[in-house]
C-alpha cells in the first residue's frame, strides 16, 4: 500500500518536473523561464522526495529526504531571486510582450543608494 502511494507521488513529481522543463523551453525571456523553473521544479522534486519518505518511512533514509525537502524550499527561491536580480543588473531586457517594468524606472535611485553604501 505505502509502495503504491509512494510511486503515485513520484509520478506526480516527475510530471511537474516535466512541465517545468517544458516551460523552460516555451516561455519567452529569462524571468518567465525562472518562474517555470523554480515553481514546477521545486514542487516536482518535493513530490519525488515525499514519495521516497512514504516508501521508506521515518528511517534515517526517509529523514534525509525530509531534510532535502527543507533545503530545496529554502534554496530554490533564493537562487531564482539571485539569478533574476543579476540578469536585470546586467541589462538583459524583458520580453517584448511585457507591459511594465517598475524596477527599471527606479534603478538609478537604487544605484545611488548602492554607491553611498560603498562610500560609507
Amino acid at each position: 500500500m505505502t509502495d503504491t502511494i509512494g510511486i503515485i507521488l513520484i509520478c506526480i513529481g516527475i510530471a511537474f518536473d516535466f512541465l517545468g522543463v517544458l516551460g523552460l523551453v516555451r516561455l519567452p525571456d529569462v524571468y518567465n523561464r525562472l518562474q517555470a523553473a523554480t515553481k514546477c521544479v521545486t514542487f516536482g522534486s518535493m513530490g519525488i522526495l515525499l514519495g521516497v519518505i512514504v516508501m521508506q518511512g521515518f528511517t534515517s533514509f526517509g529523514f534525509k529526504a525530509l531534510i532535502g525537502i527543507v533545503f530545496i524550499i529554502l534554496a530554490a527561491p533564493t537562487a531564482a531571486h539571485a539569478v533574476a536580480r543579476a540578469a536585470h543588473r546586467s541589462k538583459i531586457p524583458l520580453a517584448k510582450i511585457s507591459v511594465v517594468d517598475k524596477y527599471e524606472e527606479d534603478k538609478e535611485l537604487i544605484d545611488e543608494t548602492l554607491k553611498e553604501e560603498v562610500e560609507v
Partner: protein, 168 residues
C-alpha cells in the same frame, strides 16, 4: 538571558536532533561524536540564528507557523497548476512585467520568508528588495494592475498577517 546564548542553545539542540535522526544510533560512541560536532557547530556559528528579540510568546509563534506552512503549501499547489496551465496552453496567454509592492514587515527574517514565499506562489518572482523604503520588486507573469496599493493587496497581504505574528 542574553540573546547570543539563547541562539547558541537553540542551535545546539537542533544540530543534535538532526544528528540523532540521521544516524541510527547503535553505540554510545556515535552519540558522543554527535555531541562533539554539535558543540563545534554551536561555537563556530551559533550566534547567527537568532539575532533579534521577538515580542510574541514562543508557543503562539509556533502555532502561527504551522498555519503559515499549510497556507503556503496550498498557495504552492495552486501556483503549480497555474504555471502548468500557462505552459501547456498553445497560445501562451502571458502578460509579464515587474511591479512594486509595499511591506510592513521590519525584521530581516520575516522579509526573507515573505520574499521566498512570493517566489513560490502563483506567477510571482521576487527580483529585488529596497530595504529603506520597504518595497519589493516582483516579476509577475500576468500583470493585472500596476498600482502599488492593488499589487500589495493581491500579492503580499495573504502572507503578511501570519508572518507578523510569527517573526515580529
Amino acid at each position: 538571558m542574553e540573546i547570543k546564548t539563547k541562539s547558541r542553545i537553540i542551535v545546539f539542540i537542533f544540530a543534535l536532533l538532526v544528528w540523532f535522526a540521521l544516524t541510527d544510533i547503535k553505540d554510545y560512541q556515535e552519540a558522543l561524536i554527535g555531541i562533539g560536532i554539535s558543540l563545534l557547530i554551536t561555537f563556530l556559528a551559533g550566534q547567527f540564528l537568532v539575532t533579534t528579540a521577538k515580542s510574541q510568546h514562543p508557543v503562539k509563534r509556533f502555532l502561527h507557523f504551522i498555519i503559515y506552512i499549510f497556507r503556503f503549501f496550498w498557495e504552492m499547489i495552486k501556483a503549480n497548476f497555474e504555471v502548468a496551465y500557462l505552459v501547456i496552453h498553445p497560445m501562451l496567454p502571458i502578460k509579464p512585467g515587474i511591479v512594486k509592492i509595499k511591506t510592513k514587515l521590519t525584521k530581516d527574517s520575516a522579509i526573507t520568508v515573505l520574499a521566498n514565499s512570493i517566489t513560490l506562489t502563483p506567477g510571482t518572482l521576487t527580483v529585488d528588495i529596497n530595504e529603506d523604503k520597504k518595497e519589493l520588486y516582483i516579476h509577475w507573469i500576468k500583470v493585472s494592475s500596476t498600482d502599488i496599493n492593488e499589487t500589495t493587496k493581491e500579492i503580499g497581504e495573504k502572507f503578511e498577517k501570519t508572518l507578523t505574528e510569527v517573526f515580529e
